[in-house]
Symmetry: C2
Subunit: 256 residues, 2 copies
């Protein structure tokens, strides 16, 4: 099943995506039973919202060997989560805005995202596997000069629109057997096996849940193998086979 | 006015605290108009919840000169926010649980917390001042060996129960003229002028909002001057004059 959040009649709503149609739902599929309201919307001009607004937004820093080597870092020895911020979330098709004062590399990273479906503490590996509601796609946009110059990732990774997520949550895929492809204006810029991780999502959930309660709707972004430069005027697509394609145009902010 | 979140009839509810009584409210005072339902609860055995669950949980690392010097760090040159995680929040009177495998210093930091009341982007200083809904108190509990050993603050600062917040939001105080006092079992362990900050809350809001939209209910923890060691079996109180006292017992986790 594919669950999206969309704008329907000017308000946010959950929807099931099937046969190229958004079927509006009565509630939130992550938090309870839902039914189709009968309202059906074509996908063409639909406004997609981030498919979930997490209570906690977990993200993994270095989780693919070639990405670690690219930055001359040591591979992590344990699965330790970091964090991103909800203000930065935006939906499929919404613009990524490059702030007026960004200089240097401005990059996309295509990531598979685990969406948690249960309350979880001290999870075993099989409980971690069963806790997954589904999978979506994230683009961990980063302004590298800020990332290196600042004390925290506040604006380098958490400026408004820097975290596109979507287009929907796919409940039936196994991300470990998929392929991630990053395209700019249709041209392939990166392609890697999604499952080629140093630690997989269940490793992270088991370790995190030793100290931390995970809740339905929490998300865990799993890191990327490659980074891809973004220029205003282009469109970046992150495709993960079996899940979908997250597509966002890149715009330059006008000076405020 | 003082606004708390409490348990009323087994469910979370907002309440106005006046004359030693919790007056249950119809809605969320941060997000709209509220009325008293007529239900009144004495404070003695009340269960206090964190007074707000933020969309984004901002926190300031080094913001008092003596704290910076204590750690041999350079004072920050710009007001750059960091983040904490909602799973770690707990209310007034709820226990802080020290995980079974924590070794080394386990410390409290008493912090004043700004609660945002408006949508805010590219704020001027006076817009930042007007954006404050009110002020509460946070205890930024930290396990120092984990803080130094780990790649991120995931478990050192974000383990469950490590972020007591409350007891309520005071809408009428000026935190810059108050005094923060930290007591363990009634004995004063730290006392400092709350307003003795390197950058004040409005500096942080102005800078953050250049890139980031702040939303009603977001919180900004303002850092502490001093750290205080915590031992299981004791009770830690953070008092900020004009706001209130956040009190939490410390317990040792039994091995899972």
């Amino acid at each position: 099943m594919r669950y999206a959040r969309i704008e329907a009649g000017g308000r946010p709503a959950h929807a099931e995506i099937a046969d190229g149609i958004a079927h509006v739902l009565t509630g939130d599929p992550i938090r309870g039973a839902v039914k189709r309201t009968g309202d059906r919307l074509p996908l063409e001009n639909l406004t997609f919202l981030p498919p979930v607004i997490p209570g906690v937004f977990y993200a993994v820093g270095f989780n693919y060997r070639s990405h670690v080597e690219h930055y001359g870092k040591k591979a992590p020895e344990r699965p330790e989560v970091g964090y991103r911020a909800n203000n930065a979330l935006t939906g499929h098709r919404a613009p990524i805005i490059r702030p007026a004062d960004v200089t240097g590399r401005f990059e996309a990273e295509g990531e598979v995202v685990a969406v948690i479906g249960r309350v979880l503490r001290n999870a075993t590996r099989s409980e971690a596997q069963e806790s997954i509601f589904g999978w979506t796609i994230g683009n961990d946009v980063s302004a590298r000069e800020w990332q290196h110059a600042d004390r925290t990732f506040w604006r380098s990774k958490n400026s408004d629109t820097f975290k596109p997520m979507g287009p929907w949550i796919e409940t039936g895929a196994d991300p470990m057997t998929q392929t991630t492809t990053v395209r700019v204006d249709g041209g392939v810029r990166a392609r890697f096996p999604t499952g080629d991780m140093i630690f997989d999502p269940y490793d992270y959930i088991v370790e995190t849940s030793k100290y931390i309660t995970l809740h339905p709707g929490d998300v865990l972004w799993m890191g990327a193998d490659s980074t891809v430069q973004l220029e205003p005027g282009s469109t970046v697509d992150i495709e993960i086979s079996g899940i979908g394609t997250l597509s966002n145009p890149v715009l330059a902010e006008r000076h405020p």
